[in-house]
């Protein structure tokens, strides 16, 4: 990162100055595993193997989350993705498999085109990352060690999901006013921060999940196949 971040030269993390973690080693291992696994998902022709690679990729993602101090999200990722979604996917594979180890080949030309497009896309994304990144306000050396005392408490997360304002750290996207006695963060952050409450989105997502599950059950219910099996 060549340039200084925009606007936040004096922004200081609350925990800065404390114990710092050297994440380099773990990051590179996990990132390599995740990236390779995701590429293997694309490359693998066997769908169940692809699912396995996907497992590694998702697990690696959750590792990244843990690494980034998002313990709750990481655990959720594991529980929901690996324990739920992926099992569901494999179920799907097995319910729709016509023979053992089925694979559907993709043509070489398609591979070529896809490769080019993928590289282009990655290039575009990378370029857009490096051409300007006003969102970075905490330098890597200010990142604190994860742990029960330093990472964002899941209680805080849950309370902000429940919309308990006093417990919620302020945010700038939901428009709630910052209480006068809120003292976390610097003055500059206080200016832009506002309180967040995600109770309504939480409820919406819950109801959405319920509706979707009912709908999925309806869609996937057993019914007579259309047309005779030739």
């Amino acid at each position: 990162m060549g340039e200084a971040p925009h606007g936040g030269a004096e922004v200081i993390n609350k925990n800065s100055g404390e114990m710092k973690i050297d994440q380099v080693f773990l990051f590179w291992i996990i990132a390599a595993m995740t990236g390779l696994s995701s590429i293997m998902v694309v490359v693998t022709q066997n769908i169940v193997r692809a699912a396995t690679w996907l497992l590694f990729a998702l697990g690696g993602t959750s590792g990244i989350f843990f690494l980034l101090g998002a313990d709750f999200v990481g655990a959720t990722q594991l529980l929901v993705y690996v324990g739920g979604t992926l099992v569901l996917v494999v179920f799907g594979v097995m319910l729709t498999a016509q023979g053992p180890f089925i694979s559907m080949k993709t043509g070489a030309a398609e591979w070529g085109v896809a490769m080019i497009v993928g590289i282009l896309l990655y290039g575009v994304l990378a370029i857009s990352f490096f051409t300007g990144n006003p969102l970075t306000v905490v330098q890597p050396n200010q990142i604190t060690e994860t742990g029960p005392n330093t990472s964002l408490s899941s209680v805080t997360l849950g309370e902000s999901l429940l919309g308990i304002e006093q417990a919620s750290p302020p945010g700038n996207w939901t428009g709630a006013k910052l209480p006068a006695n809120e003292s976390s963060g610097s003055e500059e952050i206080k200016k832009v921060r506002k309180q967040v409450s995600y109770l309504l989105p939480f409820e919406i997502v819950s109801v959405h999940l319920l509706v979707v599950l009912i709908g999925a059950a309806y869609l996937a219910r057993a019914k007579r196949r259309r047309g005779a099996i030739a």
Binding site: V117, L121, G132
Partner: protein
């Protein structure tokens, strides 16, 4: 609806009910008939139960009962109405009882007069509320006055009852009831499922058709409704509607046996002839609507005649006429009469005489006072025209010269129809309307009316002498009697004319029904020359007809005596004042004799002497009770209907008194008119009325003498056979032929009207075929040719362009179509490509912005 049922408050509604009752029976019969027709099964198929309940193939007799009940109920209501009306009238106008026939009471103290005037006004108001009402029916949109129901822009339906209407109601309903009753018997053979008409010949022999009993009574009911509505009406428009309804009913009934050529011709003739009259009527209506803005009789009269109480109204002799108005200055050396019903002015045109007194440029009528009463200005000549137009309608309807030709032909209808038309309804309508619109007729108009009547009565009577068809004799006698009425009205004998209308209705209905009975007895033989000696066979018919003959002849104590004497007295009074119009008395006097002669001739030929046709004689017989009872009832009324306190005094008739009241109520009161038209001569002190009273006895004696002579002559010829009519015919062949051919009226009309019309029609047809059709054909061919060019252009160039566009677009689309592979994966790829492009463009612009 409460209003409609509030008879206590509006006893006049009784008459409305009486009017609507025949309409109800008409509707009932119409619906039943329609239902029956709709349910009629195909031949050989059994119909529904309802069909047989409605009579099946044969008409139900109950149709006749329904119609008779309807009109009979109307009669009962009319009786009640008449009683209530006379009582109410006597209470409202007490002093008119004391001096009937006088328009105003003179010679009382001024204060008393004023007081009584106030009271009279109040009473009058109340009385009007009882017997007069109207409601809005349709708005005629004139100009921009669309929102307010401004007077003069609204057509109203309404009723107004006076003595004349009440008596007409009594007469019409009674006569019609009896005719209905008679018809139930007379039309009996229409009850069969199949009737054979011997007068119509088809290639399979005589025509066989279904019975039309119900249809006959259907028409009769509608006829009665129309006539009653006409009598009921308080405005010209309603009268006109009813007028036309009467016309169509007469058309339908005359043409009841429409399979007969003669019947359908007669119906057409009656209808078309009436059209001519109605044209005049419409003309009159248009003039009145334009200049008066109302069809209400009282409105019209108020506006064309000054009020009696208006002090500014004095009578002036002007241009040979008597008018009411105020003389005001009109420039130098000229004068103008202002007639001020509503403060408006009427400039009267000089019809004759001192035209030089009025400057040419001042003769143009000008609207002096636009505003509320801006219809008040009517040129005198338009007033004359309107009156004559309405009278022309009456001429057509009442079969006056020169439009009398349809009436004898109308004998083609069933005899009860003839009776109804001749006695009570259609022809009476004309006379009634003349009476009703009397204030519209200025002296010139009245003179025309009088002469028309005089000519008619004489012509018709002369023709009647030679007729041998019993119904035709009666028909011409009707025409003649109607002429009497018109004459009476024309000479100012308003009461006498309408009096005669009523009495005539009874005895003419009696005579027609009697003749119907004879015809029925003789199996539809109408020629008197084939009858004779029928008296023993049908005594009731003969005796009742004799009463009718005596009544029409004017034998004392019979009803005709009262009315005819009154007419002759009026005519004599008029002639006494206006000596130059002597014919107006001489002709009716002579005709009274002629009438007597031919009526006795008819009766003697029919009922006395030896039977001339044994076939007819042997089969002749008295009619059933349902036909004779009406005859007896009518005979009774023909005798006594005009009696007053002293049956031997022709001036003391109760009926005449009542009609006098009507004259006061509806014609002369407030309209600046008096009954007598003799003032036309300018005799202010000696009125025609005076002379009428003076010469009443004289006229009566003269008439009686002539009548007696005529009776003697008739007996001499047809009883004692001293003179042989055949010899007379041979001696005066020209006269006979002239009379036999009805004064060549039909031929005259044919020559001057029909043939030219046909010729012109032929020319028109030729023009149509050659010129118009040719033009159209040419245009058509040209259009086809142009269209073919156009089609080629369309196909070649327009369609070509459109197709080219379509093909180009199709080609482009076809080539782009390959991009839509349908593969989900390629769509994803395109999506990614789009994202790449988007990012690329975005980052380019971001970099550019950052750089700047």
């Amino acid at each position: 609806m409460n209003w409609f049922l509030d008879v206590q408050e509006h006893p006049g509604l009784l008459y409305v009910y009486a009017t609507l009752l025949p309409l109800a029976s008409f509707v009932l019969l119409l619906l039943a008939g329609a239902l029956r027709t709709a349910l009629r099964p195909a031949p050989g198929v059994s119909g529904s139960n309802l069909y047989y309940l409605l009579g099946g193939d044969a008409p139900l007799r109950s149709g006749g009962y329904i119609a008779t009940a309807g009109i009979g109920s109307a009669f009962v209501l009319s009786v009640f109405g008449f009683i209530l009306f006379t009582r109410d009238y006597n209470a409202a106008f007490p002093h008119h009882d004391a001096q009937p026939g006088h328009a105003a009471v003179q010679g009382q103290g001024k204060t008393a007069e004023k007081e009584s005037d106030d009271k009279a006004d109040k009473r009058r108001e109340q009385f009007d509320g009882h017997w007069k009402d109207s409601f809005d029916w349709a708005w005629v949109k004139t100009g921009n006055s669309t929102t307010s129901a401004k007077e003069g822009t609204v057509l109203k339906l309404g009723y107004k009852i006076d003595h004349l209407a009440a008596i007409m109601f009594l007469m019409v309903t009674l006569v019609a009831t009896l005719i209905h009753l008679f018809s139930i018997g007379y039309m009996g053979e229409e009850l069969q499922p199949e009737v054979e008409d011997h007068q119509v010949h088809t290639q399979h022999g005589s025509l066989r058709r279904r019975g039309r009993f119900g249809r006959f009574f259907l028409y009769m009911s509608l006829f009665c409704f129309s006539m009653l509505n006409l009598v009921l009406a308080d405005n010209l428009f309603q009268v006109f509607l009813s007028w036309e309804l009467v016309g169509i009913c007469s058309y339908l009934l005359i043409g009841f046996y429409f399979e007969r050529r003669s019947a359908s011709d007669a119906a057409n003739k009656a209808f078309i002839t009436n059209r001519i009259g109605d044209a005049g009527f419409i003309l009159g209506l248009i003039i009145i609507w334009t200049y008066v803005g109302s069809f209400n009789f009282e409105d019209i009269f108020h506006k064309v005649r000054a009020g009696e109480k208006d002090p500014s109204n004095t009578r002036y002799q002007f241009a040979g006429q008597v008018v009411r108005g105020e003389k005001v200055g009109f420039g130098e050396g000229t004068e103008k009469l202002r007639i001020t019903p509503d403060g408006s002015e009427v400039v009267l045109f000089p019809l004759k005489g001192n035209a030089e007194n009025i400057a040419e440029d001042k003769t143009v009528p000008t609207k002096i006072n636009p505003g509320a009463g801006d219809f008040g200005t009517m040129p005198y000549w338009l007033l004359v025209t309107a009156g004559l137009g309405i009278f022309l309608g009456c001429v057509g309807k009442s079969a006056q010269f020169p439009l009398h030709v349809w009436l004898p032909d109308a004998m083609e209808g069933p005899t009860p129809v003839s009776a109804l038309i001749h006695a009570a309804t259609m022809v009476a309508a004309g006379v009634y309307l003349v009476g009703r619109c009397f204030p519209l007729f200025v002296p010139e108009s009245r003179l025309v009316i009088a002469y028309t009547g005089a000519i008619t009565l004489f012509v018709a009577a002369t023709i009647a002498i030679v007729m041998t068809d019993i119904k035709k004799v009666l028909a011409y006698s009707t025409v003649s009697q109607l002429g009497y009425m018109m004459l009476a009205l024309g000479v100012g004998g308003w009461v006498a004319g309408l009096f005669h209308l009523v009495t005539h209705a009874f005895f003419k209905a009696l005579l027609f029904l009697g003749s119907g009975s004879v015809i029925y007895g003789c199996h539809h033989e109408q020629d008197m020359l084939k009858m004779g000696g029928l008296y023993p066979k049908m005594k009731i018919t003969a005796l009742t007809m004799l009463i009718g003959v005596l009544a029409i002849a004017g034998i004392p104590t019979f009803s005709g005596w009262f009315s005819k004497d009154a007419i002759l007295a009026e005519a004599l009074g008029f002639v006494h004042v206006n000596r130059q119009h002597g014919l107006l008395f001489l002709l009716p006097l002579m005709t009274a004799g002629i009438t007597t002669f031919y009526m006795f001739r008819m009766w003697l030929l029919t009922f006395t002497g030896k039977p001339r046709d044994h076939h007819v004689f042997e089969h002749a017989g008295e009619s059933p009770g349902v036909m004779t009872v009406p005859l007896i009832v009518l005979a009774f009324f023909s005798w006594v209907v005009a009696w007053g306190s002293n049956p031997l005094n022709p001036e003391k008739s109760y009926l005449e008194e009542q009609i006098h009241h009507a004259q006061h109520l509806s014609v002369t009161a407030d309209f600046g008119m008096v009954a007598g038209a003799g003032e036309a001569a300018g005799e202010h002190t000696e009125t025609v009325e005076h002379f009428t009273h003076e010469y009443h006895a004289l006229a009566g004696y003269l008439a009686l003498g002539i009548v007696l002579l005529a009776i003697i002559f008739a007996f001499v010829v047809y009883w004692f056979k001293v003179l042989d009519p055949a010899e007379a015919k041979e001696q005066f062949p020209g006269v006979h032929r002239f009379l036999w051919n009805k004064w060549y009226f039909d031929e005259l009309y044919s020559a001057i009207l029909v043939r030219p019309a046909l010729t012109v029609a032929g020319w028109a047809r030729g023009f149509d075929i050659n010129v118009i059709d040719g033009t159209v054909d040419f245009l058509g061919r040209a259009t086809v040719r142009i269209s073919s060019w156009n089609g080629k252009f369309d196909l070649g160039i327009v369609d070509g362009l459109v197709n080219l566009t379509g093909n180009v677009i199709f080609g482009i689309g076809y080539s782009f179509r390959r991009l839509q592979t349908g593969y989900l994966r390629s769509y994803v790829l395109f999506l990614v490509l789009a994202a790449i492009g988007f990012f690329a463009v975005l980052s380019y612009f971001v970099a550019k912005t950052a750089a700047s």
